[in-house]
Amino acid sequence: MQHVDVREMPFEPWQYLADWQAQQLPENARSGATAVFVGTMRDFNEGDDVTGMYLEHYPGMTERQLATLVAEASQRWSLDAALVVHRVGEILPTQPIVLVAVWSAHRAAAFEACRHLMETLKHTAPFWKRETLSNGTVRWVDRNTLG
């Protein structure tokens, strides 16, 4: 079971996980280890106060690239299930931007697959952040934070 959701609407990650697991995941695919990452918009970046963000994407390629990353990770770590949710459009501080969740029989596989998915997403999924600062300046983020 693999799912990618690129969406303009805000989402609450724990509610999303509860609903998706209940509706999409059979009980036998829930056993073992689940690793989850949630990235939330911060109200600061590179030392400046950020009041808003616009996330541009490449409709079609973004979804395709995320599906490729999910499929590759699912095969490499024998995942039972994997889920990626990513916001686009206007985003406000404290709103969740990205949710990555993986289900596996083993905890090492779950941790590694979840982290690998986040890293490859950040380096290859076509999203671009444009920040609005508290002084009114608008700027494109030109690189991702390490890590």
């Binding site: 079609g60 950040k122 380096h123 999924a125 999203f127 671009w128 690189r143």
Partner: protein
Amino acid sequence: MPIKVLFFASLRERIGQSQRLLETDTPLTLQEVWQRSSGETHLPDNVLMSVNQTYVDANSLVQPGDEVAFFPPVTGG
């Protein structure tokens, strides 16, 4: 069939357009596609490229009817 060229994010703003159609009957190199669509001679090192929504490198050939995109380093997640 024309080649469809897309620009995204800061590159779209710098080039001043988001989409361009290039009429051609023959394959073009990505360098040629860049020059004819952007009006700039040199393809910058840090520009990423895709053909038909799959990443490619700067040596790839583009066929008539293909969708090409140029964009800056990605910053999602």
